[in-house]
């Protein structure tokens, strides 16, 4: 019972780095309630140890220092022409698995530019195999979604167009 409980917590934590802070808070609250009920304080230390280990293995959480293939992407003002092109590419290459506002095969992408860096997004589009091996956020997402993202072999130009499109989408409230 306890084992299962812990596993679930870790899964939640691993599966979505996005809301890590709230989740960590939730875990501790849940855990405290749990241990208050059971008064098994000796187990608390073990849970903390596991939780700490998971947090540290998930990388920094925010984008700084995490593995990406593309590095140091500088974003200027949104290029509307590129964004229009990106919208078309998104419909053909991405929309089978990603919607803006709901989870489908992959995560909703309406506000992905708020959650992820431009380096992360471009790397995940262009080099999903390297990201799955090296990026802890992507690893955690795989354990939640269970389907590895397809490499659709976009060019760098196409990937940037998709990024511009996603920047427009978030400005429209995450829907388009």
């Amino acid at each position: 019972m306890i084992k299962e409980y812990r596993f679930n917590q870790i899964q939640i934590l691993k599966s979505d780095n996005i809301h890590k802070l709230t989740e960590v808070k939730m875990i501790f609250n849940n855990a405290l309630a749990f241990f208050k009920r059971r008064k098994q304080f000796f187990k608390l230390s073990a849970l903390i140890a596991v939780t700490v280990a998971v947090i540290s293995s998930c990388g920094g959480g925010s984008e700084g220092g995490e593995f990406t293939v593309i590095k140091d992407t500088k974003l200027g003002p949104i290029n509307q022409a590129q964004a229009e092109q990106g919208k078309k590419i998104f419909a053909e290459k991405c929309a089978s698995c990603h919607k803006y506002d709901i989870k489908l095969v992959g995560p909703p992408l309406g506000d992905v530019v708020k959650r992820r860096s431009a380096d992360y997004i471009l790397s995940q589009i262009l080099y999903p195999e390297q990201m799955i091996t090296n990026n802890d956020t992507v690893k955690a997402l795989l354990s939640k979604y269970m389907t590895q993202m397809s490499n659709q072999h976009l060019s760098m130009l196409d990937a940037k167009a998709v990024l511009e499109h996603l920047r427009v989408v978030v400005e429209n409230g995450g829907k388009k």
Binding site: A91, E92, K93, A95, S96, C97, V105, M146, T147, Q148, S150, N151, Q152, H153
Partner: protein
């Protein structure tokens, strides 16, 4: 007492071991190199040194193996339908198997040939013959798929094929069975008067490989067995072996084995080109079908043709000569220098080695013994360079190692003999298990063989493998030819009957593989490039379902409004753009195969539902952790129902 017991035990053990050792069937170890295992071991994750391609014989297909491991990589569907890949079942691929006799879903594939440049394989295509309904196929080595099949008119069986010239100018075909040309309703008794044999030269477009029958040569009604193009100094000539010069039409095993010598025809194809250019051909009418696969529409197209240019040797001096060759020659193999043409007389007691130089001199000196249908028969002594004495029984086929040695397979005595091209003396022999047909050395038919290995392609395996009921596997054997003595390394089973094979270094094509079909190049009229475009369209009783796949779902996956008796076409586009991610498609009860849709490809399968109900469909090729979820339903309503056509997006 105890000590004595121990001594007795040891003695008994020694005796037992001695008995065991001597009782071991020695035949299975004959010639096996002591380090054989390490020489054929390719560690997990490592690549083989050579690609090898073996004909599948009566399977109609071609298989791809690695050497030296003998691992099977792929079976390429060529002349036979292949339900595993939807080949011959999908609407797009069906036309590949069209002939003048309609859809022919099978053939007997014997001899692969690679495209060459300067007498060496260039890694572009492999050609292979269909023996039964005469055809030649071209396989693309960037996709490992059959791209083209051309039917050979005026032919009764395409055996001496598909052998090519050193710059892929032509692929050759000769008829195994002579027939009336043009074919007509005659008595078989009229064989000698009415039956003819055609030798065909198929032009290959150097840019895209597309084949076209350039011309045929109308020959006497013999049985044309194998062929080889000249090379280096003999480039411009081709050689065709033949049997049944007796022109028997029944019990050939006796009646076609009467003559001491049959012939190897030497054809001057450069001369033929001159005659064609001068218009000295006759145009014959004969139906044949030419199929090719459009890379952008992923669809095979059939073209009906009925005209072919024919040259008559009697009217074209210098076009064809006969070299007498002892008893029913099979092989007519040209050595790397182009000087020697080796006859493999199945029933002969020697291996005749003809000299190209002597042949051209004999032609110049008109050393003719007689003429047959206007074809001069050269004097045997004037063209022979030497004979290999006592080679064994049943010499069939010869290849070369590039170091001055030839290797000839011996069907009857089940062995390979190695002999010197200097003095035509046998230097080594090795048994094969059993009844070898052709043999193959990587590049063994080129101007510069790669050597190192030789593969024996055997007809019978008998006791070599675990038995599998009445039919046993066919087999290849890998032999090390890097030293003075041939050493057996490995047995490995093959698909169908491996008549002949080819091999070249893997590096020639390994990095040229197509990984997926680019969606932007997909010109299939029924493609669906994005999920938003999926739809179901009814045209009378025909329904087109435009469907997409990506890991791991179909769109649409719920379809209603299909009626009993509808002709339903599932046009499935695989939206993936990544290597090694095909999706499959199969619907319950369909009288057809699955589809295997490669990334970026559109494939179509036809389905006529016969009963009302709910029909599941699903992905057949494991694609992701959620592959098992990749499924859907079609609702089939009565023919007269008013169920609305709906589908989910």
């Amino acid at each position: 007492m105890k000590k004595n017991l121990l001594l007795y035990s040891i003695a008994a053990l020694i005796v037992a071991m001695a008995i065991l050792i001597t009782a071991c069937p020695s035949s299975k170890k004959d010639g096996v190199d002591a380090n054989a295992a390490s020489k054929v071991y390719v560690a997990p994750g490592q690549y083989d040194e050579f690609y090898a391609f073996f004909s599948g014989g009566f399977s109609g297909q071609m298989s791809v193996y690695g050497l030296p491991s003998g691992r099977l990589f792929r079976v390429i569907p060529v002349f036979s339908v292949d339900a595993e890949k939807g080949y011959g079942f999908s609407e797009e691929s069906k036309a590949m198997l069209n002939t003048s006799h309609g859809f022919v879903p099978w053939d007997d594939a014997h001899h692969p040939e690679y495209s060459m440049k300067g007498g060496m394989p260039d890694g572009r295509w492999i050609f292979i013959n269909g023996n039964n309904t005469p055809r030649i196929a071209r396989i693309d080595l960037t996709t490992f798929t059959t791209k083209e099949i051309i039917e050979i008119p005026n032919s009764g069986g395409n055996h001496s094929s598909a052998f090519g010239t050193e710059n892929c100018e032509y692929v050759m075909a000769g008829t195994r069975f002579s027939v009336p040309i043009p074919n007509e309703d005659v008595s078989i008794e009229d064989y000698k008067q009415k039956f003819k044999g055609a030798l065909s030269f198929i032009k290959v477009d150097p840019n895209n490989g597309k084949m076209d029958i350039a011309f045929q040569i109308l020959m006497p009604g013999f049985d044309y067995d194998l062929s080889r193009a000249g090379k280096a100094k003999s480039h411009g000539w081709s050689f065709f072996s033949m049997y049944n010069t007796e022109q028997a039409n029944s019990m050939l095993e006796i009646n076609a084995s009467q003559n001491d010598k049959d012939f190897i025809a030497a054809v001057n194809w450069k001369k033929a080109e001159e005659y064609i250019a001068q218009g000295k051909f006759k145009e014959f009418t004969s139906n044949y079908v030419h199929n090719y696969y459009d890379e952008n529409t992923h669809t095979a197209i059939s073209e009906k043709k009925n005209k072919v240019k024919v040259l008559i040797p009697g009217e074209c001096p210098g076009l064809v000569y006969f070299m007498p060759s002892p008893k029913s020659p099979h092989g007519c193999d040209v050595d790397p220098t182009g000087e020697f043409i080796v006859g493999g007389g199945k029933l002969a007691t020697v291996i005749p080695v003809f000299s190209f130089d002597k042949m051209t001199k004999a032609i110049a000196d008109k050393k003719f013994d007689k003429e047959i249908d206007g074809i001069p028969v050269l004097n045997y002594q004037s063209v022979i360079a030497g004979e290999v004495e006592k080679p064994g029984l049943g010499p069939l086929h010869t290849e070369f190692d590039g170091n001055g040695f030839a290797y000839t397979s011996m069907f009857v005595s089940s062995e390979i003999v190695k002999w010197s091209l200097k003095d035509f003396k046998v230097v080594d022999r090795i048994p094969t298990y059993y009844s070898i047909g052709h043999l193959m050395i990587p590049g063994g038919n080129t101007v510069k063989p790669y050597g190192k290995y030789m593969v024996a392609l055997n007809k019978i395996t008998k006791d070599r493998y675990l038995p599998t009921g009445p039919e046993l596997c066919q087999s290849a054997q890998l032999i090390d030819i890097s030293g003075d003595k041939m050493k057996l390394l490995l047995d490995f089973p093959t698909i169908g009957e491996p008549h002949y094979g080819l091999a070249f270094p893997a590096s020639l094509i390994k990095d040229k593989q197509v990984q997926y079909y680019k969606m932007e190049n997909n010109k299939n009229p029924h493609k669906t490039v994005k999920e938003a475009d999926t739809k179901v369209v009814r045209e009378g009783s025909t329904v087109h379902i435009y469907m997409t796949t990506i890991r791991s779902h179909f769109k649409p996956d719920n379809i209603e409004g299909i009626k009993v008796g509808d002709e339903v076409y599932f046009h499935v586009t695989n939206l993936e753009q990544d290597w090694d991610i095909p999706h499959g498609f199969a619907v319950l009860g369909n009288n057809s195969s699955e589809l295997l849709i490669l990334p970026g490809e559109t494939s179509t399968i036809k389905w006529i539902p016969k009963e009302t109900g709910i029909y599941p469909f699903y992905c057949t090729d494991f694609c992701s952790a959620l592959h098992q979820e990749m499924s859907g339903y079609v609702r089939v309503s009565p023919a007269n129902s008013s169920t609305k056509l709906t589908w989910n997006k």
